[in-house]
């Protein structure tokens, strides 16, 4: 048995301990300790359960709020792959749709496009490497084909392709990528704000390939 306190110095064979100036038997001391431990564990489990419940309720509330929130109020994080006037290729930013226009913002850079000038909105899907950027490039030099192996891990993306006219009537095209599930919402909002499309929901339902876009892998 270990010493109860620094002051309690007894050998292992001793059956009587001096505990805070009081003399108690070894059996009583052991019983007290085990009872205290059980109570502490039960209390800890109960508080953990309560915390878990609170977190679950919070998460559910947050997710339901997020699902109900219209995109016009919340900015969607997008990447401009190419084609948006005044914006460089592969620029990350936020997209907001409202008041008859589509705003793209990246730091100080702002690009506004009237939704009435948009002639076509088409959604699609895509995928990208999970590990990308500098680390992704460096991973290609990893030994034993580790870079190739890492290419198997990909995250899915949604794409939105638009065609629009500038002030001179010139036709432009722009491609955006965004998190999964956002493309249809963005398209719906653009159509609500006056944009046009050549691919309707009925057309998508007719074509089986388009109905299951996850089956194919692009880019």
């Amino acid at each position: 048995m270990l010493p109860c306190t620094p002051s309690c110095v007894v050998d292992r064979s001793a059956k009587i301990h001096e505990f805070h100036g009081k003399t108690i038997s070894a059996k009583m001391r052991a019983a007290q300790l085990s009872e205290g431990k059980v109570r502490e564990t039960a209390l800890r489990n109960r508080s953990l359960f309560r915390l878990g419940c609170l977190a679950a309720v919070g998460l559910m509330a947050a997710s339901s709020n997020f699902a109900q929130q219209p995109v016009t109020d919340a900015a969607v994080k997008v990447v401009v792959v190419k084609g948006l006037a005044g914006v460089k290729d592969n620029t990350k930013g936020t997209l907001m749709i409202g008041e008859g226009s589509m705003h793209f913002a990246h730091e100080a850079l702002m690009s506004d496009l009237g939704t009435h000038s948009i002639e076509d909105v088409v959604t699609g899907d895509d995928s990208q490497r999970v590990i990308r950027g500098t680390v992704g490039t460096l991973s290609w030099f990893a030994p034993y084909g580790a870079g190739r192996f890492l290419s198997l891990f990909r995250s899915k993306l949604d794409t939105v392709t638009i065609k629009y006219r500038d002030a001179d009537g010139g036709l432009h095209g722009a491609i955006f990528t965004m998190p999964v599930g956002q493309a249809e919402v963005v398209k719906k909002d653009l159509l609500a704000q006056g944009a046009k499309t050549t691919v309707t929901a009925e057309d998508l339902a007719k074509t089986p390939a388009a109905a299951t876009p996850d089956a194919k892998e692009k880019q």
Binding site: V81, G124, G147, S151, L152, D168, G173, V199, E217
Partner: protein
């Protein structure tokens, strides 16, 4: 031994003469006169028979315009529907139609290196304002090893710009 050395010298001399002859022949071959074009209007890529994803169509169009503006040697490059194109002198209109498309997979390319290539075949027609065909060419855009599928559209734009640079000039 001496005979072998002599014969090897003869082979070397013959090869050199042959190369010089080929070079001279190549120099003598007259280059076709470049067609004058101070402005070019690029129409949206069409795919009448092939089902082409919208992102490929837009990507090809945008890449083509950008490449022609930067490296085409044409003074003005107009987009489809641009009202300013109507008043441009020596306007050439470029119409492209997709004749073949094979969508590959970036994942396959990165994992296997040899599989998953993407290729696009396009028939390009250069015509004047009146619709008279000036030049026709088949161009292929490919991505074989690295890069996303949309890189094939960049390859197509580069190849088309090369054709424009070789056959059209703003001055002559």
């Amino acid at each position: 031994m001496r005979a072998l050395r002599a014969s090897s010298w003869a082979v070397v001399c013959f090869s050199v003469m042959l190369l010089c002859g080929v070079g001279a022949f190549a120099q003598d071959k007259p280059k076709p006169a470049k067609i004058k074009a101070s402005a070019m209007q690029v129409d949206m890529i069409h795919s009448d028979e092939i089902k082409l994803p919208a992102e490929f169509q837009v990507s090809m169009y945008e890449d083509l315009i950008r490449q022609l503006q930067n490296k085409g040697g044409i003074a003005h490059v107009y987009r489809e529907g641009d009202r300013n194109a109507a008043s441009a002198a020596d306007l050439v209109i470029l119409r492209s139609n997709v004749t073949g498309f094979k969508e590959g997979s970036q994942r396959k390319r990165e994992v296997t290196t040899v599989a998953g290539a993407t290729s696009i075949k396009i028939h390009c027609v250069f015509s004047d304002k009146d619709g008279k065909t000036l030049l026709e060419a088949d161009v292929t855009g490919k991505v074989r090893f690295f890069g996303g599928n949309l890189r094939a559209t960049y390859d197509f734009a580069k190849a088309t710009t090369k054709i424009v640079r070789e056959n059209f000039s703003a001055t002559t």
